[in-house]
Symmetry: C2
Subunit: 102 residues, 2 copies
């Protein structure tokens, strides 16, 4: 049993994954045989992911703010706190917050 106490560190998202400022806090990084990685990802206004894929898919759950997500070539969807999105394995997707300034 491994406890990580209230981590106060956050790391900027790498520039090849994101445009704009994004901060990533680790939530779960378990050991084998687990494969899951969980993080709390904070997008500043205007930030977004690059188009990308996940080999086993990705699930997101919105905890604050209003965002947009899209499967490449599909409609842009607005997502709000409480919404969950599952992105199928190996399909190109992107995620961004809704801009707060006009």
């Amino acid at each position: 049993m491994q406890i990580t106490r209230n981590a106060t560190t956050t790391a900027p998202g790498p520039g090849d994954w994101f445009t704009g400022a994004v901060y990533i806090d680790a939530v779960a990084a378990p050991m084998e045989p687990a494969r899951v990685q969980a993080a709390s990802v904070h997008f500043t206004p205007g930030a977004r992911t690059a188009w990308h894929t996940h080999p086993n898919g990705q699930s997101i759950h919105v905890t604050e703010g209003v965002g947009r997500c899209q499967r490449r070539g599909g409609p842009v969807e607005t997502i709000r706190p409480g919404d969950s999105v599952f992105f199928e394995a190996a399909r190109s997707t992107g995620t961004a917050p809704v801009p707060t300034a006009s």
Copy 2:
């Protein structure tokens, strides 16, 4: 891309998994090849899990309240919001909130 809008349903935790009242809201239930299952689990005071194992381990992240967790035979640990715990695969563990009444 599958969006689940702010689900308003919660389900009582099964009696063979828990003692006391526990409510489970699904957060992520993705498709193959993903194996992860994520849920927001709400313990009422006095509720606790039965001793149990997870074949690939389990990660929890405390979002509210104060709880206790234990690997069977190990020390009881108090966990607070922001804390994460990784329970290794196939080791018997339990989780409970700290009682609020004396």
